[in-house]
């Protein structure tokens, strides 16, 4: 059941696992992955000092940890998922939140997040449509004038798209379907020309804000946690640098819409890979950025130091094969030097329900949805 503390230096994102927004304090932001024989495992970090993790069979978690009702339900939903990527985990999380088990604020946030996702998907689809028309040399000014959501606009669009499909030697229905597939894949990021950034692009911008804020804090704070904060800023910066490069690559590829439609299988595979890579890169950072933002709202340096240590415990290190830096090794050195500051996690065996800690996590969950 409990394999004991092991060294944690994942090679790939899949091995690192996807962060789950549990509300039980011990399980908050623990990662889940498919282990041997595709069985689900949960990785619980730093029950004691240091960077070791416990690998626990997914099915055994409810017996080991006193979980909130919300988490038990989320746990059931995740077991039913085939994949274990950030997107699937997010969809299970929003489903659990919508049921009301994480409180009224989480219901509201989940509904809003789902509405926004749908809007973003529609917007992306629309922008892709305009790109296709442009790529085949057709003017879309009349459509814009009529408005896409009007009958006249729809009629004009169908007409133009039929001509575009003919120019591309495709069936119009196939063209529509392929654009919808691209939109589904790219909408969470958003297109370069989109007036509204997608959720992941917003996440990347928030990560940049987090990096600046925690870096400033580490320079100004007279706290033992300052070097730990500086390390968190470095990891954020490293993630941002990779994220910017992947994002640029993705936007360039999607901008060449003609090329995608001509070489569909290869191009689409690459676009899916890049979009998934951004999702994996940013997985877990939304919680961290919001937790830091909330800590900074309180004028309490001591509490902020505690948050720094808590964030260090769950910081998403870029896996070895995805980076030229050994971040796990660097994190271990930070933990060793600042052992006094990087405190051990509270005793998880007591099993008491800390209503204050759960409330804080629920508030964060609503903000980061």
């Amino acid at each position: 059941m409990l394999k004991g503390s092991v060294e944690y230096a994942p090679s790939t994102f899949e091995e690192r696992g996807a962060a789950v927004a549990f509300t039980t304090p011990l399980l908050s932001q623990t990662r889940v992955r498919r282990g041997e024989r595709s069985r689900l495992e949960v990785l619980i970090p730093s029950l004691s000092e240091g960077l070791g993790i416990y690998v626990v069979a997914w099915k055994a978690v409810p017996e080991m940890v006193g979980m909130t009702m919300h988490d038990r339900y989320l746990h059931e939903l995740i077991v039913k998922q085939e994949e274990c990527s950030p997107q699937e985990i997010r969809s299970a999380t929003l489903r659990a939140a919508r049921r009301g088990l994480a409180g009224p604020e989480a219901v509201k946030a989940a509904r809003q997040a789902l509405e926004e996702e749908e809007e973003q998907r529609t917007l992306t689809n629309y922008l892709l449509l305009m790109s296709v028309l442009k790529a085949v040399g057709l003017e879309s000014a009349d459509v814009l004038k009529a408005g896409l959501d009007t009958d006249e606009g729809q009629r004009l669009t169908r007409q133009l798209m039929a001509r575009a499909a003919a120019a591309l030697r495709m069936e119009p229905n196939l063209l529509y379907a392929r654009l919808a597939q691209i939109a589904d894949t790219v909408a969470p990021v958003g297109l370069a020309q989109s007036p509204k950034p997608g959720r992941l692009l917003r996440g990347l911008m928030e990560l940049k804000g987090f990096k600046s804020s925690i870096e400033d804090w580490s320079n100004e704070a007279m706290s033992e946690a300052a070097p730990v904060a500086a390390f968190c800023a470095e990891v954020a910066q490293h993630t941002v640098a990779i994220g910017d490069a992947v994002l640029g690559n993705l936007h360039r590829r999607v901008a060449a819409i003609g090329q995608i439609l001509r070489d569909w299988d290869a191009e689409m595979a690459e676009i899916r890979r890049l979009a998934a890579r951004i999702a994996w890169l940013l997985d877990g950072w939304d919680h961290i950025a919001k937790a830091w933002e909330m800590a900074m709202e309180r004028d309490d340096r001591h509490a902020q130091s505690m948050v720094v240590n808590e964030l260090f415990r769950i910081i998403p290190l870029v896996p070895r094969l995805e980076s030229d830096r050994d971040l796990s090794g660097e994190a271990e050195r930070v933990a060793a030097v600042h052992r006094r500051s990087v405190r051990a996690f509270e005793d998880w065996r007591t099993g008491r329900m800390d209503v204050d800690a759960i409330r804080r996590i629920e508030m964060l969950k609503a903000k980061a949805a």
Partner: protein, 473 residues
């Protein structure tokens, strides 16, 4: 009415125009924080205008929360050494040795009238263009201003044999005049206080470490060299920077106070009395006009802060065999217990249980009220948070009984709701809302009766919902 000239370089904007301020005043409380800081910065340039002064009075609560860097003025620099013991703007918490804000104006007037005008003018020039972030610059000006102001104040207060100043300066308020005297003593050691504050940062210091104690000792010796009388004020400010001021009492007798060593027993008694009186005053505020508006959650926050100070103080007094304050401390403890009993425990059936609709014979519609649910959850959490105080307040039995009774009541109502749901949902206008009301009820069970009981109910609920929809559970 004459309008003050705008300073050179200031950009006239609608926000900075005093004419529009009466209209904008209330809106300033709602605008985004960045905008608020910007508007405050602009208003600072015309701060002497009566409308602007009124505006600052209106937005003061938000100013104290946001704390935008304010343009330094001599008056603000004057207040730096005693800002830790100034009453808070919202008046919710009471600092140790509280100095009221209304003392600032008469003190500043005396300083302006009595201090050397040429020196003050030079300091006024030095403060012009000084940035709020330039701490060294502020300390330089302060280092010259504080002794000057202290001398002016002492001169005025000591020379008030005919009590004219008491009446003309302080409206005959002896307590206010006494606070002005305390301010004079603190200003005497202004620079020492500022150095100590840097050592005791960030505020509040959770517990005194060796470095902190050494810094206090060194500062106390420096203050004693200037005047042994000032040591009390220095210790007062040190204590006010601690999360539990009584922590200073615990180390006080081991401190080498230099020339003030002989005063140690008197200092201990003075500070002990102050710490206990402060606890009493904070407790008395619980019965003040705002007491009725205190939410259960706020009541627990207040109780936690008070009990932290109370426990530390009691431990120090026991350790020192000081029995003089025992009854007064017990009275504070009793008052906190009563407050929690009245605000959190006895009101719980109404505040928590009533959030789950009673299912009557006709079947009540399934409704969802997010605000009521949030309030009920906050109340339930407050009740559970009382557990941390139960032993200290000797209320474990009462609390456990209340939690058990409420848990049983909630479980009963939630069970009834689940049982009636298949019948009630047919009349519900929105099935999703109806389902939410079920899970909201389960959350209250979880918060009060615990996750195990709630989980049983959740499983039964999921099975029932699956049966209704024909899905697998």
């Amino acid at each position: 009415m004459t309008r003050p000239d705008p300073p050179a370089g200031a950009t006239p904007t609608p926000a900075a125009s005093p004419d529009v301020l009466p209209v904008l005043r209330e809106r300033l409380l709602d605008i985004p924080e960045a905008k608020f800081v910007e508007v405050v910065r602009l208003l600072e340039h015309v701060r002497d205008h009566p409308d602007v002064r009124q505006t600052f009075a209106t937005i003061r609560p938000r100013l104290s929360r946001v704390r935008p860097a304010r343009r330094p003025t001599l008056k603000r620099i004057l207040c730096m050494p005693f800002e830790d013991v100034l009453e808070t703007l919202d008046g919710v918490d009471v600092p140790l040795g509280r100095i009221e804000r209304r003392v600032i104006e008469p003190v500043w007037r005396i300083v302006r009238e009595r201090a050397d005008a040429a020196q003050l003018a030079a300091l006024e020039r030095a403060v012009q263009g000084l940035d709020a972030a330039n701490r060294n610059g502020l300390l330089n000006v302060g280092g010259r201003l504080w002794p000057l102001a202290a001398a002016a104040l002492h001169g005025a207060l000591d020379g008030d044999g005919d009590r004219r100043l008491l009446w003309t300066g302080f409206g005959g308020d002896e307590a206010l005049a006494a606070q002005a005297r305390s301010v004079a003593h603190i200003l005497e050691i202004g620079s020492i206080v500022e150095s100590l504050k840097a050592e005791l940062s960030p505020r509040p210091v959770p517990a005194l470490g060796e470095g902190h104690v050494a810094a206090i000792e060194q500062a106390a010796q420096a203050a004693a060299r200037l005047s042994p009388k000032t040591v009390y004020y220095l210790l007062l400010i040190a204590a006010s920077r601690l999360a539990a001021p009584a922590g200073l009492l615990d180390v006080l007798n081991d401190l080498d106070l230099g020339r003030a060593n002989r005063e140690q027993p008197a200092l201990f008694a003075q500070l002990s009395g102050l710490v206990v009186a402060n606890l009493e005053e904070r407790t008395a505020r619980m019965d003040g006009p705002a007491a009725g508006a205190t939410s259960p959650d706020e009541a627990v926050d207040i109780a936690l802060r008070l009990i932290q100070g109370l426990d530390t103080t009691s431990a120090v007094m026991d350790h020192r065999n000081e029995t003089a304050y025992r009854e007064r401390l017990a009275a504070v403890r009793g008052a906190v217990r009563t407050m929690l009993d009245e605000t959190v425990i006895r009101t719980a059936p109404r505040g928590v249980l009533d959030a789950i609709a009673l299912i009557d014979g006709d079947g009540t519609g399934l409704t969802r009220d997010d605000e009521a649910q949030t309030a009920a959850e906050d109340h339930a959490r407050a009740l559970r948070r009382c557990e941390a105080l139960a032993d200290s307040l000797e209320m474990r039995h009462t609390l456990e009984k209340a939690i058990a009774g409420l848990g049983a009541g909630l479980t009963k109502r939630a069970n009834a709701l689940v049982a009636a749901y298949p019948r009630l949902v047919r009349r519900a206008p929105d099935p999703e809302t109806a389902e939410l009301s079920l899970f909201y009820a389960l959350r209250l069970v979880e918060l009060v009766a615990g996750p195990i009981q709630a989980e049983e109910l959740r499983r039964a609920t999921m099975a029932m919902l699956a049966q209704i929809s024909g899905d697998e559970p």
